[in-house]
């Protein structure tokens, strides 16, 4: 029996988002959507987190930060790119400092498109991510 399905903890990092997607991520925690129903907790600590939610694109300044957070998370872990900026760079793609989507630096598992991504879409993405988390957990078990 695996418990990741019942208690996925999230760390949310804002790359170079315009804050639109961040607001929508936080909206998931409000009484309207209340993701804590599913045991989802928005922790601020990468060492406690299972799911890494990134909004906004990766730029030259935060690339180290993003990598650092990812490497601090214990396995199994998944990365969810929320918003079109995190997916591909979006409208900021051509900026001189923007590197593009999160997948330029990290292995992204789930893409949640939208500008801004709707809370429903984000929750849907997280649920997909939980499935992948389970799969990774099984692989971890098989490896021992």
């Amino acid at each position: 029996m695996s418990y990741f399905k019942k208690s996925p903890w999230i760390i949310h990092y804002d790359g170079s988002s315009c804050n639109g997607c961040d607001i929508e991520v936080l909206a998931c925690l409000t009484p309207m959507y209340d993701v804590e129903r599913f045991g989802i907790v928005n922790t601020g600590n990468p060492k406690h987190a299972d799911i890494f939610v990134i909004t906004g694109s990766v730029n030259e300044q935060n690339i180290e930060v993003v990598k650092n957070i990812y490497h601090q998370m214990p396995n199994p872990k998944v990365v969810v790119a929320v918003g079109i900026c995190a997916t591909s760079g979006g409208v900021f793609r051509e900026c001189y400092n923007v590197m593009g989507g999160v997948d330029k630096v990290l292995p992204v598992d789930v893409y949640v498109p939208g500008c801004a991504a709707r809370p429903e879409a984000i929750i849907d993405g997280i649920v997909k991510a939980i499935g992948i988390l389970e799969k990774k957990r099984k692989e971890m078990d098989e490896k021992g």
Partner: protein, 286 residues
């Protein structure tokens, strides 16, 4: 018989503590107009922690955290088997020292700050609890939990100041707002995650289990004040816990200097006065 209570505590306290924590999350969510997680959520969380990869900064931290868990269980067993209440208080302090050492040993600035704040919390909590023990001794003539619980006297009426003061500092121990300065519960965040920042996986799980033990122990303390009538005591314990939840959900976190000062003022004003009055009347009336 009393030893049996201690053994029951060792087995049942994590279950009861986890359920109470689940209830706490549910009730807190309702207070915020949310549905909230399932009742068993704390158990799911802890089970998950044990399934995570073990990432350890310094190996010694696991030893310290295990020490925290074992001593907390031991403290509670001592309490519920009717042991010396002073010993209970100092054993509890020792277990917290283990937690603080564990956080120090990771060499991370975040858990360092958390550990310092945990020490501050202990400083705020301790005077009131020792006063409460002293008051119970004055009222019953014994430091033994079994004697205090078995006394026919209405301790809550003899020690109202101590009871109020104890409820005041209880928020420190339950890691509740406004006093959750070293580490906070649920989704609250506190300088990353305070004292537990560097604890991952099974280590974090052990910390949570120790906190369940502690929760039951703390409610046991409240019970003592009403020991003369068990049904009333259970109601009082439930009310006290509910009160903590209401306070938790209505007040923001305080700065640590104010938190400590206010707890000392509460201990001094409520506790000392109560003990002084009791001592004055101790010969004639009681």
């Amino acid at each position: 018989m009393e030893l049996l209570y201690g053994l029951i505590y060792l087995v049942a306290a994590p279950v009861a503590g986890g359920l109470l924590t689940g209830l706490d999350r549910k009730v807190s969510a309702r207070m915020q107009g949310r549905v909230g997680p399932p009742l068993l959520q704390p158990f799911y969380d802890v089970m998950k922690h044990f399934q995570k990869e073990k990432v350890v900064v310094a190996k010694i931290q696991n030893v310290f955290v295990l020490g925290y868990l074992l001593f907390m269980a031991f403290t509670g067993a001592l309490f519920f088997s009717g042991g010396d209440i002073l010993l209970v208080i100092f054993a509890m302090t020792l277990s917290h020292v283990f937690l603080v050492l564990g956080a120090y040993s990771t060499n991370s600035p975040y858990s360092f700050i958390g550990a310092e704040r945990e020490l501050v919390q202990m400083m705020a909590f301790e005077p009131m609890v020792i006063l409460a023990a002293a008051g119970m001794y004055l009222a019953t003539g014994s430091f033994y939990v079994s004697d205090i619980a078995g006394t026919g006297k209405a301790l809550a009426l003899l020690l109202p100041g101590l009871l109020l003061g104890f409820l005041y500092v209880l928020a420190f121990k339950l890691r509740k707002s406004p006093f959750d300065i070293s580490s906070s519960r649920h989704a609250h965040q506190e300088i990353v995650k305070g004292i537990t920042t560097e604890f991952t996986g099974s280590t974090l799980g052990r910390v949570e289990i120790a906190e369940w033990y502690e929760l039951v122990l703390m409610l046991g303390f409240v019970y003592l004040f009403f020991g003369w009538s068990p049904p009333l005591a259970l109601v009082a314990v439930a009310l006290a816990y509910f009160l903590e939840l209401v306070v938790d959900n209505s007040f923001p976190r305080l700065k640590w200097p104010f938190a400590v000062k206010s707890s000392w003022v509460a201990a001094l004003a409520l506790g000392m006065t109560n003990v002084a009055v009791l001592w004055y009347f101790a010969r004639g009336v009681v």
